[in-house]
């Protein structure tokens, strides 16, 4: 529904679908491929209706062959197409890791700059839906370890709507991690929302006392935490990383230079996490700006459990963020 001011209420699911539909309309080299993207309408309903509109060649159902169809997307990208490959969840993407790592990420370098791979691979990530230990992990940080790919994590409706087209224009492989728990979440999106840039982090909320540095599904949690903190008289800045590789190092150092305290919120496991990388960069580049050690709120180091109370205890919660932030600012943490 669009209001007089050109803003409509929409869900992340619909925003993603709009981005895919837009890309299919704009470029006939683009096609969507993956398990149940067609007749089923997408495991999470993201591609509902697209088969009827674009036909089975451009909205292509695949067998359950992650390595096969991800590799096929890479090969098609090497040969002039701009495929969007959907992998149902990040856990399943491990079956295609050979293709992503050994081919997509390495091809340009290994071929001495001759062959680039303009493929986009989308997948759901994150916990919060009681899907247990094989459908709920957040492995973006792993992928962000790999040179040669771009790793995007939309945390807002604008980015859910707009990152795909820009990613498709990119000459390099781009992975987009869509937080599964956010698909039904709705919010306002400008009616004319379109492509967004994919190179920089974004300050989602300005503040003075500390920086909450986060991405993807933790962005709304950090925003909630920042609201609570404001009620307590603590002014929190929220930096949405948006692109996990290459990281926007300047934005990270910039926010720390403003607030002098940093709390990294990351739904990945703490050890060897993206949060660890962000912390290291702050230590390397902004050590003397800090008034307190960098803090982290990450997932507990367990496979994500099924029972709701355990699952929720395993992932970053606004209350935890608030508590750690409070300690960081007041020194009573």
């Amino acid at each position: 529904m669009t209001t007089a001011t050109g803003v409509r209420e929409t869900t992340f699911r619909d925003a993603y679908r709009e981005g895919i539909r837009d890309a299919l309309i704009r470029d006939d080299a683009t096609f969507l491929m993956g398990e149940d993207v067609g007749r089923y309408g997408g495991c999470f309903g993201v591609s509902k209706g697209l088969l009827e509109e674009f036909g089975p060649e451009r909205v292509r159902d695949t067998p359950l062959s992650e390595s096969g169809f991800v590799g096929a997307g890479i090969g098609a990208a090497m040969n002039g197409m701009r495929p969007i490959v959907e992998v149902m969840t990040v856990n399943f993407s491990l079956l295609a890791l050979d293709q992503i790592m050994n081919n997509a990420a390495s091809m340009l370098h290994m071929s001495g700059g001759q062959i680039n791979v303009p493929v986009v691979i989308r997948m759901t990530t994150g916990a919060g839906r009681q899907l247990a230990a094989q459908h709920s992990h957040s492995l973006e940080g792993w992928y962000a370890h790999i040179p040669g790919i771009r790793v995007l994590a939309p945390g807002t409706l604008e980015d859910a709507r707009g990152m795909l087209w820009t990613a498709l224009q990119d000459p390099d492989p781009v992975l987009i991690f869509e937080n599964g728990a956010m698909y039904p979440v709705s919010g306002p999106l400008p009616a004319n929302a379109g492509p967004v840039e994919i190179d920089h982090a974004a300050v989602r909320r300005h503040g003075e006392d500390l920086s909450l540095i986060t991405y993807g599904g933790s962005v709304p949690r950090a925003m909630l935490a920042a609201e609570t903190l404001e009620e307590e008289g603590i002014s929190a800045e929220v930096l949405d990383l948006r692109t996990l590789r290459p990281l926007d190092g300047a934005a990270i150092l910039g926010t720390v230079a403003r607030t002098h305290r940093a709390l990294v919120v990351d739904e990945g496991w703490r050890s060897g996490s993206l949060a660890a990388e962000v912390s290291a960069r702050i230590m390397e580049g902004a050590f003397y700006e800090l008034e307190a050690p960098v803090a982290r709120v990450c997932a507990a180091e367990v496979p994500i459990p099924f029972a709701q109370h355990l699952e929720q205890a395993a992932i970053p919660q606004p209350e935890t963020i608030v508590a750690v932030a409070r300690g960081l600012v007041r020194g009573d943490g």
Binding site: P63, G68, G71, A76, N79, M81, D98, M110, S111
Partner: protein
């Protein structure tokens, strides 16, 4: 050991036998020189020789057009040479020089040439098959009259990616020619020790594609089979699978004591050397004189000499350029 298959059905009138011999000789002599250079530490890293298998690449390439695509493995010197990659650029690549066909970033296992539509040089066994499916999918979607030839060894048949790719290619009726080079050993593991079904054409046939075995030691048989298969594929018949029964005369790589096979077995296969077989036939048929053969040897040797000289004179990529080609678009 696999039994030998009948030799090629067609006569030499079907093919330019002298050209085929020259192509095989180019590969043989190039790699023999590579061994010398490896021993002299001019070439380093892993190096996998194609010696003994030259008939397969030589035969298959006869059936391809310039616009067709080739996906290969880490044992790809022969495919690259037969496909027409510049031997100078290949040798420079083995030397790690910037003049190499992958600017020294790939080495022996990752030869690439976008202009020749030669897509590597893939060193993950079976990892190239899904790529071939994708290349062919793009051609199919665009309505291009192009075939993708995908080479892999019989070891790839044990990988899931082999089965995923075979199924996708057949399901979507894609123009892929799957060229399985069955040299009987996946590194040191004999086919019978790794597969419950050692007739690989049965596996391929189960995906509803044409599949047959070819004497991979007979270049005429290889060329015949490739031509027939490519015609099927190009005519919209979907993918095709050829099992070339062949043998590598040398070790798996340069670090292989060959404990897994007997000297007698190797010696027996060497009696079926594809170069010797064709040379004998050309001489018997009066198509190549001893003088002609000598001249061919000299020409091929000159080509190899030139390649080595080019590599020796090659330069090193400046270390400042180490991180080039990680992304085509750098972040502003």
């Amino acid at each position: 050991m696999t039994s030998t298959l009948p030799t090629g059905r067609s006569g030499l009138d079907q093919w330019d036998g002298v050209l085929l011999l020259r192509e095989m000789l180019r590969i043989r002599r190039f790699e023999e020189r590579c061994v010398e250079l490896y021993s002299a530490s001019k070439i380093r890293g892993f190096m996998h020789l194609y010696i003994g298998e030259e008939a397969v690449a030589t035969g298959v390439m006869q059936a391809l057009r310039p616009q067709d695509a080739v996906v290969s493995t880490y044992r790809e010197h022969g495919h690259a040479l037969a496909r027409g990659l510049d031997p100078k650029a290949i040798m420079a690549e083995m030397y790690g020089r910037v003049e190499g066909c992958s600017r020294g970033r790939g080495g022996s296992m990752h030869l690439f040439d976008a202009d020749a539509r030669f897509y590597g040089g893939n060193a993950i066994v079976a990892g190239g098959l899904p790529l071939a499916v994708g290349l062919a999918l793009a051609d199919s979607l665009r309505g291009r009259d192009v075939v993708t030839a995908c080479f892999f060894g019989e070891g790839a048949v044990a990988e899931g990616e082999f089965h995923e790719a075979m199924n996708l290619a057949a399901l979507w009726s894609l123009p892929v020619l799957f060229c399985c080079e069955n040299n009987l050993y996946a590194m040191g593991t004999a086919l019978g020790r790794s597969e419950s079904q050692t007739d690989l054409t049965i596996k391929a046939s189960s995906y509803e594609m044409s599949a047959w075995a070819v004497d991979g030691m007979d270049v005429l048989a290889c060329a015949d089979a490739a031509r027939e298969a490519v015609e099927l594929v190009r005519g919209g018949g979907g993918p095709c699978f050829l099992e070339f029964r062949t043998y590598r005369f040398r070790a798996h790589s340069m670090y292989d004591p060959e404990l897994y096979r007997s000297k007698e077995e190797v010696a027996e296969w060497k009696t079926r050397d594809p170069l010797d077989a064709l040379a004998r036939r050309l001489r018997e048929d009066g198509l190549l004189s001893d003088a002609g053969r000598d001249a061919m040897e000299r020409e091929v040797e000159a080509e190899v000499d030139e390649a080595v000289a080019f590599a020796e004179a090659g330069t090193l990529e400046p270390v400042e350029d180490l991180t080039r080609f990680v992304y085509r678009r750098d972040v502003p």
